[in-house]
Symmetry: C2
Subunit: 255 residues, 2 copies
């Protein structure tokens, strides 16, 4: 079994580059961190190129890793260099970027979450995890939304990328697609004159758009929705965090 | 008006120390960042010792800052050193730690959120902001929960600390207090055998306990609740993020 003990090793230097979008595309790979995510990738037959693990993590999970060929043992020093937290667990996988999923926006089913220029990776990952838990079919990442392979997005998703469709696409096309199918499209507005979300009954098919943390949904999309929803605020906060709002809304909308 | 242009200035070095709990107590102060939070502090008559601002931010908010005496103009370099993001807005306030609020756990009113060993500052701050938006009376930080003066907690709270009670206390005492008043105490469990939260009707007075991200609520508290609630999971995710779960539950419980 190959061993790497120095964080100055050329292979490690290259793997660290995968934290940047440009290099993920160049090397057609992204980096997963922690056993929970590596195990989700193994279970869902993602194309894992290599697993890097400390001897301790290898021992802990040897049963599940036994049939996997490309394992590299790494030192704690290397693990710290690869990890995105102060005390990384010590296990990583280099995974091939999944092939683009071609889903026809005119032939969808179920609930869909559309992200319009969401900035914060933690918010994005949490929304994907919540959409998964609530049983939506997929999430569409509109332009200006952080990448689904961003290490912080990956951490917050907690493996949900293996459970539902994640699409990078033009939101305009998708909104048109839902409308062609007569699937209702809901926007969200920080405006008490919008419709109280509790007045909408759960649906089998729907789309929910969530907008940028500071600016909300872009005007050209807001004007194309069937209804714009509002969560009543009883206290003094000006607004809900976008991921919290998305959670409350999806839970109400999903049949 | 005093001006500081070098990030090596002794005063700046001391202010940076306020990011650590030990030094916040030593200097009886904490650091707020961004105009939104500085303005919330001004509005709520928090004891602001000093405002540090770039000339640009000073100009933008001169109307509201005009009557404030202790303003220090800082350079962009100093602002970057003080800020907790890559591109700080450029305005900060040094605020005196608020006096401990003595609230009798045997004489509460409204909804209360109890945090049991929550780790992630973003989750904690977001839960406080959500409790504020939903109209709860306060949040109790149990031991092992990150500090409410942690810079990342402050950022996620978005000023909600000025709108509702934040208490650092022993959860045991507070749970006893609610029970003495016959106020229902709800726990949360990742267990489909717990009660579906939608079966509980909104309440004027209640307490909701949220537990650690990995381990949930400590057993000694779970056994003392009136009911333990569960949010049904329809998809494949193992759980909800703790702040999302808190948001969905508080929205249901709060009358």
């Amino acid at each position: 079994m190959e061993k790497i003990t120095s964080s100055k090793n050329e292979q490690i230097k290259q793997i660290i580059k995968l934290k940047r979008k440009h290099d993920r595309i160049k090397f057609n790979s992204y980096l997963l961190e922690s056993w929970h995510l590596v195990y989700e990738a193994l279970k869902s037959n993602a194309r894992i190129k290599k697993i890097l693990t400390t001897p301790k993590q290898f021992q802990l999970h040897s049963d599940q890793l036994d049939h996997f060929q490309d394992i590299v043992l790494i030192s704690d020093e290397v693990s710290k260099k690869l990890g995105s937290t102060l005390t990384p667990q010590g296990i990583f996988a280099i995974v091939q970027l999944p092939k683009t999923q071609h889903i026809n926006p005119n032939a969808t089913s179920g609930g869909w979450l559309l992200l319009d220029q969401i900035q914060d990776p933690g918010n994005i990952g949490t929304m994907v995890r919540t959409a998964d838990a609530i049983g939506l079919s997929g999430v569409v990442f509109g332009s200006g939304t952080a990448s689904r392979f961003n290490p912080k997005v990956l951490r917050a998703m907690q493996g949900s990328q293996f459970h539902l469709h994640l699409i990078e696409a033009d939101l305009e096309q998708w909104i048109d697609g839902f409308k062609n199918q007569q699937v209702p499209v809901y926007g969200t507005e920080l405006n008490p004159n919008a419709v109280d979300f509790r007045d909408v009954h759960p649906k089998s098919n729907y789309a929910l758009i969530m907008g940028n943390e500071g600016n909300g949904i872009q005007k050209q999309y807001l004007s194309q929705t069937n209804l714009n929803l509002y969560i009543p605020i009883k206290g003094q906060a000006e607004s809900f965090n976008v991921a919290i709002a998305a959670g409350i809304l999806m839970f109400q909308l999903q049949k």
